[in-house]
Amino acid sequence: MAGLSITNITKRFGDTEVLKGVSLDIADGEFISLVGPSGCGKSTLLRIIAGLEDQSTGEIKLAGNDVSGVRAADRNLSMVFQSYALYPHLSVADNIAVPLRMRQQKALQRLPMIGRFVPGQRQIRHQITRDIRNAADMLEIAPLLERKPGQLSGGQRQRVALARALVRDPAAFLLDEPLSNLDAKLRVQTRVEIAQLHRKLGATFVYVTHDQVEAMTMSSRIAVMMGGRILQCAEPDTVYHDPEDIQVAEFIGSPKINILPVDQNATGALGLLGQALHLQVEQKCQSVRIGLRPEMLRLSGEQSLLTGTVEHLENLGAELFAQIAVPGLENRLVLRCDPSQRAAVRLGATVGLDFTPAQALLFDQDGTRIRRVHDTSRRPVSTAEVVQHGRT
């Protein structure tokens, strides 16, 4: 097991630059998710780490050793593919055995029939059988060992692919959207199992997904990728509550964050639809937008910052999401409320919405987070108190 260090990786396919200088340090034993919309370069980055693709420039270090130019088979990494990539003609046991046989046996020893008479074979064969057993037990696929991949369900194939990856002791595991071919229920279950597997093995996992829920629930850190760059790499909590960029804020979180345009007067004070927010921004921006997570909004009475009508309701049982059209705003706002508030948010009802301006996430015209914001509602204040989220 080992850590990974990626420095300034770029990748071009002809004229298209897929990766534009990606740097990432992954500690030993960390579970890191590369998450982003399709086409953001996350799979390419994983394939470059694996050695299946060469980077155009940049450096990859595995346990401190530069592995650029080392071919995939020699990097001692395991990979689980989106399509599972099981060998269709081999039984489950043989599939799991392939990485062991390829590495531990010489070509002559792998020959069918003759192989078993080559000296020193017994021991290696016994060890391989034991290793297959252990991997199969860990993933609870022991009863399937004799079957062919064609006779397995999607979930079982996925487990076999995982078993094949962990049967030898690789420096790190690379997983390329391994859950995307499973149905919703199985995905949730497998998510838990992969996270538990990571805890049990304590190995380094690099997990590529387009599903932010998977990234949020499994990872120690999330690297959010867009347009060939890592926009933010931090713990799931930080990425959710303290995004660096409006694209990160919009990508992470379901339902999506509410983005509202705000006005800024000459002194830097902010107002929303003509109402003062009691927030002051130090720098002068062309435009300022605020991001409000659905749970930041709350229902309120007469004296509300925003008033609108309920246009659509999504009842998830434990929680209720209401889409509210506010006059003057282009997009509907999404409000998360408790099922107990159901009576108040009937379809077509007019509701007042409120939020604590100091909690809102502010972004400038480029989508970069504005950090230096002063809360002017409480006076007097010292700067130290009001600069929000001092941690970066």
């Binding site: 399509s83 269709p88 392939v98 990485p99």
Partner: protein, 326 residues
Amino acid sequence: MGAPDITLQPLTKDTRPVPATVQERRAAWLLTAPALSLMVLILLLPVVVAAILSFTDYALGNDTFRWVGWKNYSHLFTRRTYEKMFLATFTYVVTVVPISVGLGLGAALLINSLGRFREIYKTIYFLPVMATLLAMSIAWEFMLHPSIGMINRTLELGCGTLFEAIPLIREGCADRFPVWLGDKRYAIWVISFIGIWQGFGFNMVLYLAGLTSVHRELYNAAEMDGAKSAWEQFRLVTWPALGPTTVFVVTISCIRAFQVFDTIEAFWPQGGGPNKSTYVMMFAIFEKGVQQNLIGIGSAITMLFLVFVMLLTIVQCWLVERKVHY
């Protein structure tokens, strides 16, 4: 009012409508009847007729025939001519099938690994398949001519050079070069060579189609699993994936090899090569059944031919079901 009902009851029982399932079955037979009758008439009936004729001494134009029992068949297994026929046929099949399949696979793998010029190579290798073998035979006949043919002329250039180390050229320079089509030692191999030259492009196209179905990610998986050499990746991924294609290609090649006829007819219209060394089954059928009007023996060879092809097909079906479908 009750009386007519009672008298009517047995009548209604008799004219009760036919049950729906029976009606459906009848309609099904009716609808398949044209296809079935055509199949029997065009495909099965000739086979049955040939099978019947193989037990007779019928000749075209005769009003009657005699039943001769298994005599035609016993001739096939006792006469020297037919021993030569089997030898020529099996030599041809055993030579042409593995080599043309192997070359087809090799060419397909090479072409598949190309980035550019794929289509050009495909076309070039496929040209002999598209050409008429009869016309090509004439070209080959010229090239193989003992004195003015291109092949022997080329070999003569090797005289007095290092190429004399090759036995064929050494002997040719000392004495004379082979007569090829006139020599019983060479004739069947020349025919086999032309068969391979003509047929492997077809196998290549089939293999190219098979190669498109190999999952790209499997090669990545093989690489990650430590299969470094091209040979290991071929063994682990390509060859198993080509299993169904191979079974099909081998069967088709076998049937085509059993059917070889054009070249032999073009080179030796009167009798199956020097000392009957290229007297293959198809030519025997043609000679006996058409040229000599011995329908009985011709039919017997045809039936034997059919048995070989059927056996091949059964083996293919068995392999496809059991071994190569995952």
